[in-house]
Each structure stands twice: as C-alpha cells, then as structure tokens.
C-alpha cells in the first residue's frame, strides 16, 4: 500500500484524538496563576459574629480550606453535603468566604443546609473574591501552613476530587 495514503489518515487520527480528549475537558476551568503563590491577605468580619474579624494571619501555621460560597449560588447546593461531611470529620478547618451575599440570606442558607464551616467571613463587595481570582462560585482553595495556595477547585467539589486530590493533599501538607 502506498505510504502516502497514510498521511491524511494519521493527521485525521491526531485531530480526532485531540477533539476526543477535548470532549471531557471543561473550558471553564482556567488554570489559576495563584497556585504556588502566597494566599492574598484579608481581614474580614465574621458572618455569625460581626463584631470579630478573621484574617489570613490568624490561620498561619495550619493547613486550611477556603471555600467560596453564597446563598444565591445554585451549584453550591451540589457540593454542600460533601462539605458538611468533611466539616463533621474535623480533618481540616474550612473557612467559608460568603461572596457577594447578604448576612441574612447567608445565615438562613446555612441553617437550612447545614454549616460545615469553622467560620464564615463576609466578602460583601466581592473584593477579596477578585484577589483570589474567583470567577465561578463555588471555588475551593487548599492553603498550606506557610499560607501558600496549593490547589484550587473551580466549581463544586466532587466526591472524586475530594478523595483523590483534596484530602491526600491536605494530609500530606499537614505532615510537613
């Protein structure tokens, strides 16, 4: 058989291969430039105790999760049961960033769906959200003892992401 006839076939298979892989990739998942960088500083009011503030400096020395949520966020409901489980297991502190929400509906939402958070802080104008490059709530960051962002989950946490990526990473970071 003429070898030249194989060239279009090879090109076709290569293109089909790329397109096939592309079917399972989420174009909304844009790699964050913040991974490996220090987590942006913030000092924010706490949702349940507005008279006290919580800042990134208070969390130094421990591994923690930052979960961006809002009462208006539909896909937050999707991941919430997993977070509640994780909160009960007390493996790692989960700080909720109540993003562009109002305290009333925010608290109500936690009452209805369960509150997995060590505490939630209020980012009413979304400014801290911008500093963290948030563009699709929910988002979850894994932050290490030195305050460096190690992982970012864009969109709801899935059981698979939790078991295979987030928890192993948290355990590894807690050991170091």
């Amino acid at each position: 058989m003429n070898k030249k006839l194989l060239i279009p076939l090879v090109v076709f298979i290569a293109i089909a291969g790329f397109l096939f892989v592309g079917l399972w990739r989420d174009p909304r998942e844009v790699p964050s430039p913040l991974i490996g960088k220090p987590a942006p500083q913030f000092t924010l009011t706490q949702l349940h105790t507005p008279e006290t503030k919580l800042g990134t400096s208070d969390l130094k020395g421990q591994v923690w999760l930052l979960n961006v949520w809002a009462s208006w966020c539909v896909s937050c409901r999707e991941e919430h049961p997993l977070l509640v489980e994780l909160g009960k297991a007390k493996i790692v502190p989960i700080i909720g960033l109540n993003y562009k929400d109002q305290p009333g509906p925010g608290k109500q939402w936690l009452l209805q769906n369960g509150d997995p958070y060590t505490t939630s802080v209020v980012d009413a104008d979304g400014r801290v959200g911008i500093d963290y490059g948030v563009y699709g709530v929910p988002e979850t960051f894994v932050i290490d003892k030195n305050g460096t962002i190690r992982y970012k989950q864009i969109g709801p946490i899935t059981a698979e992401a939790l078991e295979k990526k987030i928890l192993p990473l948290v355990r590894e970071l807690q050991k170091s």
Partner: protein, 160 residues
C-alpha cells in the same frame, strides 16, 4: 376615582423606592474625566470576562465583569498605569484574561502554530510542483499529422 388616584401616588412612590433598577447603578460613570473614561473602556475591551468567556469585560453583563470594570475605574483614579492594571488582572486570573496573550514558552505553539502550518503547506506545494512532469507531451506520428491538419483548418468540417 379621586380616591384611587390619591392611593396610587404613594403606592407608586413606595414601589419606586422598593425596586431600584440594578442596571442603573452600573451605568453611572464614576469617572467624569473623559480621558480616564476612554482609558477604562480601552482596557476593559482588552480583557476577557471569565464568566462568559467569549465576551470582553466591556461587553459582558456578568456581575464579575461589572466589578472588574469598577476595579479598572478605581485604579485609574488612583493613578495606576495601564500596564499596572493589566498586571493586576493577570496576577489574579492568569494570561487567559488577555485577548492578546504574551509570547512565552507556554504560548509558543499558539503563536507559532499557524506559521508552521503555512510553512508546511508551502513545502508540500513546492514538492508537488517540482515532481510534476514539466516536459511537453510527445505525439505519435499519426497524432502529429492530425494536429497539422487541424492547424491548417482542414478538419473535415466547415469553420465558422
């Protein structure tokens, strides 16, 4: 009727205060300086909105885009340069926010890929052209006689 009208006025007034138009808040220009406003528009046209990825921050109605437009205006007012503002966005959202991505190792294929395809195409074209037989086709004696007859106008039919 009069009673209804009297009732309607405070009701309408109450409604108006209850439902401020959310779009109106966004449309109020916080920068009155036309030069700064022009810069803000130019910058927001260069940046991609990550929520609706095929629109610029200037075009998008997404809330994040509106927040980022606000950030741009605020930073211009604070005296930041265009480069500093673009850097601010890239630090948070990555090169993906730029419609004109920088030339660096991770974007080399993006920038040079089309050029490589064109060069490859020319290479194949030149090779094929060279290989094509350039010599004139040779005719048999019989064909030559027929050609001569045709050229002389004697093809057995009347010319028109």
């Amino acid at each position: 009727m009069r009673f209804l009208a009297a009732l309607a006025v405070p009701l309408l007034a109450a409604l108006a205060t209850l439902a401020p138009l959310p779009a109106a808040a966004d449309a109020v220009p916080t920068v009155t300086d036309p030069v700064a406003q022009g810069r803000a528009v130019k910058l927001s046209e260069k940046l991609r909105c990550l929520v609706c990825q095929n629109q610029s921050i200037a075009d998008s109605n997404a809330e994040l885009a509106s927040d980022l437009r606000g950030q741009i205006r605020e930073q211009i007012a604070a005296g930041k340069s265009d480069d500093q503002i673009v850097e601010y966005m890239v630090n948070r959202y990555g090169d993906f926010v730029l419609y004109d991505p920088p030339f660096k190792p991770t974007t080399i294929l993006l920038w040079l890929g089309p050029l490589l395809l064109v060069i490859g195409g020319f290479f194949v074209l030149i090779r094929n052209l060279r290989r094509r037989p350039a010599a004139e086709p040779t005719l048999t004696a019989e064909e030559q006689q027929r050609a001569a007859r045709l050229l002389a106008g004697d093809n057995g039919k009347t010319n028109q």
